[in-house]
Symmetry: C2
Subunit: 329 residues, 2 copies
């Protein structure tokens, strides 16, 4: 895993240097992309793509490292534009791009990261026919993450949202894009069978949802060092996630009014943040979301067991599943 991470990072360095030399006028933008990439992240998406490929029967090669690395650039696009939309101040423990350099600059950093991601992906070195198939999944993934983000922005001011809606947003915005699609793209690049693609997708989908639920729990109950931004940011932003929807359903009376009234309040004090956390806990929503997370994990494990894999690939995918849902991402 550490070797893969280093290989992905080397590839990103190399690629960004080449692009910087090609269009010197974009150097400032590329430097900011490089800074954001270096600031952290566990290269989760590249890892799932790489192991989707290996699991699908592909041999280790530079081409798959390049294709996998492109997903980190795509993620850079997503977080930069996401932070603009949410007006977030911090990411990975550092000031966000728009806070540092202004809206126009951050917007272009995101645009360029998106464009460079495609470039790296498409020119990774696979046979054109293989690439066209993989690109279809890649492109659908980009559309899903944008649609998910749109629902998220749209729901930001709605007082109520069903758990079903919240789960759909989580799947589109995060689960598919972080886990399921990277696995599937890896499978296509390996030239794997339609059966394998369907099977690895059945492993990735519930795992992706578990990953997002874990993120929601960390966003309220995690610690600052682990998530790289203030732990109360989901509460202050008033995220309409499953944890919120579940709590809203379980509470009644004054507790419910307080919860709906203060969630996402702009001037919450520390005591109120603690009260909101307490309500999520006492309502049973935290336990419910943890149970749902466990169910998703089990479904993923069962579907992983059904795949016919080399011992290497099986153990790597099991490790990644653990990382994505048990550790701080």
């Amino acid at each position: 895993m550490e070797d893969l991470r280093a290989a992905v990072d080397n590839e990103l360095d190399r690629f960004l240097s080449v692009r910087r030399a090609k269009i010197p006028e974009s150097a400032d933008l590329i430097n900011e992309i490089a800074r954001l990439v270096a600031a952290g992240g566990k290269r989760l998406r590249p890892s799932f793509c790489y192991w989707g490929y290996r699991a699908g029967g592909g041999p280790h090669c530079e081409e798959i490292v390049r294709a996998a690395a492109s997903l980190e650039l795509l993620h850079t696009f997503a977080i930069v534009h996401d932070d603009i939309m949410d007006d977030s101040d911090e990411r990975r423990g550092e000031p966000t791009a728009h806070v540092r350099y202004g809206l126009g600059f951050a917007l272009l950093v995101g645009d360029l990261a998106l464009v460079l991601a495609d470039e790296l992906f498409i020119n990774a070195g696979f046979a054109p026919e293989v690439m066209m198939l993989a690109f279809a999944a890649y492109s659908l993934m980009r559309q899903e993450v944008i649609a998910g983000q749109h629902l998220d922005v749209q729901n930001a001011n709605r007082l109520e949202i069903s758990e079903e809606e919240a789960r759909r947003i989580a799947v589109l915005k995060s689960g598919r894009y972080s886990i399921e699609k990277p696995l599937v793209i890896g499978g296509y690049l390996a030239g794997a069978s339609a059966d394998f693609i369907a099977g690895v997708s059945r492993f990735g989908d519930p795992l992706g949802e578990a990953f997002q639920l874990r993120d929601d729990l960390l966003g309220v109950f995690g610690d600052r060092a682990a998530i790289g931004k203030p732990v109360d940011s989901d509460i202050r932003e008033g995220k309409r996630n499953v944890l919120f929807a579940s709590t809203a359903r379980l509470l009644a009376g004054d507790d419910r009014d307080f919860f709906l009234g203060r969630w996402g309040g702009s001037e919450l004090n520390v005591r109120e943040i603690e009260q909101l956390r307490g309500l999520i806990e006492r309502s049973g929503a935290r336990a419910e979301v943890e149970r749902l997370l466990g169910d998703c994990r089990r479904a993923a494990d069962e579907n992983l067991a059904r795949l016919s894999l080399t011992p290497d690939a099986r153990s790597a995918l099991a490790d990644l599943a653990h990382q994505a849902t048990h550790r701080e991402i």
Copy 2:
């Protein structure tokens, strides 16, 4: 030309409907893309792409209409994000996306238009090997337009800018992306020779610059109906274009101080706008830019004459060149 426009518009309708059905959650975003596309524009970029293809020896077919249409979606991305960065209120005679629906929504509309443009382009139906070559030019074009926009944002607050710098921005931000690259992409899709590609690029580059100079002149001296936004918007935004750079060099003393001090001023009144226009005229900058535009046009015409073409292609490219530099775009 009218037939081509209708074919491009049909293709855009068809494609956007398919994508809307595929991810219903993105319907609002896609509707806004469709509204912006329908609001106007002469399909200049698709036309250059189509005729670059025909000139390169490609036969009329649906595939090239699809590929050409994708450039209109890419342009939609560019104008939506551009309008956010410039904080423009109007485009094509209608309120801009961020003014209508807010920053987050407009940002996602631009992101989705960029992603859908790639999708339509790559899946236009060409042989994978041909597409990979054309995509390299397409991708470089995307990077150039972002780099040009970055220089534009960066220079927005600089008091002085050389004509050389202003010309470089114009080439990156507009000329290549509007004319030269569409022609070259068409050439690649036709499987044309390296000689043809180089030749059509020598026609497109000066024509692209002439197009941008025309746009700069219209942005100060054009009439409202023709450009679809207030005619003083370039002056109020303080565009650092060639017209500005040339005027700044030609003026001296109080006139120069007034010009530099008020260009881009936030609360300009009608009399001041007229004074600024008068200075561009009296300094000789308008005449100089018109001369430069004429030089670029002549260079383009000469390089068009050097290309070996069918009569159809020659006459279509000559018409497009005229449209791009003599009429209101």
